[in-house]
Symmetry: C2
Subunit: 210 residues, 2 copies
């Protein structure tokens, strides 16, 4: 746990990446597994995760990302995209996965499926998208921590124009909407922000024990 | 990293906690530090975190939490609450913290503060609340992973009536809104779900590399 906390203290939102350094395939696969194993509401994982390596696409994304250099300089750009159509299909696909993974007949899962549907289907379209988007932040939090343990730098990025991302990446056609991104790679020695002290609320301010 | 991934494989949404087992103060403090060090948009941490130990309050929360036993049986109940009033004060408080932590004159931070205000202040009330709520999910994701490394069980909980929580806990008066919760403690040997295989989308299904 000391190591976990030290990693969190080490990490910071990297402003300037060393464009010459690439994450190894082994480390990238480990980070993908961390994202894949992340918790989500009912385990539904109502999202997809894009890993952008292509330089041309990243050059197109940069101007609609407040011009941030991390978009093009980081080793990889990860974009979390939530499902737009949160409907019975999403739940039925999940039930099929449960059935296959656990060797349970699909009929035995019907009541549980109906329960999930009764909770999710009646939500408004906006509420569904917000619910799905929130789940991606669990995976994002997990990614940031796991990367830090590997001494891989990260910059979580909300500062982009989601509609433009959706257009450039053709996401709408895939029933997806870009939610939040993370640039991952290695800090540049020139990034002065790495020397800034971390700013956080005090324990007293943040927590209230009842 | 193997240890990190093994911990994620070990964890599951615990359905039945052993009500006799309590998390040590040392471990609880470590988990609080993990939450406190979690990333958030601009580092603003637009939330508070309640740690509910009181049995009477937990008994009041259970019926408005779909009756889930985790609410009363877990060692601790953590409730993430986002700030309702996302305004200039939140940013000014943050700037004061930056100034104190880094020994920088507050005047030197004015441009950065104005930039943040220009991005956040114009958002609609709903957009602000959603933005703040999403940040709590980063901390939640971090909490789940860190707890697993300590072999502490968790159950993330969205299944509660936020308005009722806000009423019971007097949150509105504090400018807060309950967002998501996590029961933390130790699994009961009787919890059958601990033996179920983990269900996740395949790497092929979840990721798209471009």
């Amino acid at each position: 746990m000391n190591n976990y906390i030290e990693s969190l203290q080490w990490r910071y939102a990297t402003k300037k990446f060393d464009a010459s350094k690439k994450i190894s395939e082994e480390d990238l696969n480990a980070l993908k597994e961390v994202i894949r194993l992340s918790a989500s509401s009912y385990g539904l994982q109502p999202y997809k995760v894009l890993i952008i390596e292509n330089d041309d696409i990243r050059k197109q994304l940069q101007p609609v990302s407040w011009g941030q250099s991390q978009i093009v300089d980081a080793s990889h750009l990860i974009i979390f995209c939530n499902e737009i159509n949160v409907n019975d299909d999403l739940i039925d696909n999940y039930l099929e996965n449960v059935s296959n993974t656990r060797g349970v007949a699909i009929e035995e899962l019907k009541d549980y499926g109906d329960f999930m549907k009764s909770k999710i289907t009646p939500l408004t379209s906006d509420a569904k998208i917000n619910w799905a988007a929130k789940q991606t932040y669990i995976a994002l939090g997990n990614l940031l921590s796991a990367a830090a343990q590997l001494k891989i730098d990260t910059c979580p990025i909300e500062g982009f124009e989601p509609d433009k991302y959706d257009e450039i990446l053709g996401l709408k056609e895939q029933g997806l909407k870009s939610t939040v991104a993370a640039a991952i790679g290695y800090r540049s020695s020139e990034d002065k922000t790495q020397f800034f002290a971390k700013v956080r609320k005090s324990t007293q301010e943040l927590f209230n024990t009842i």
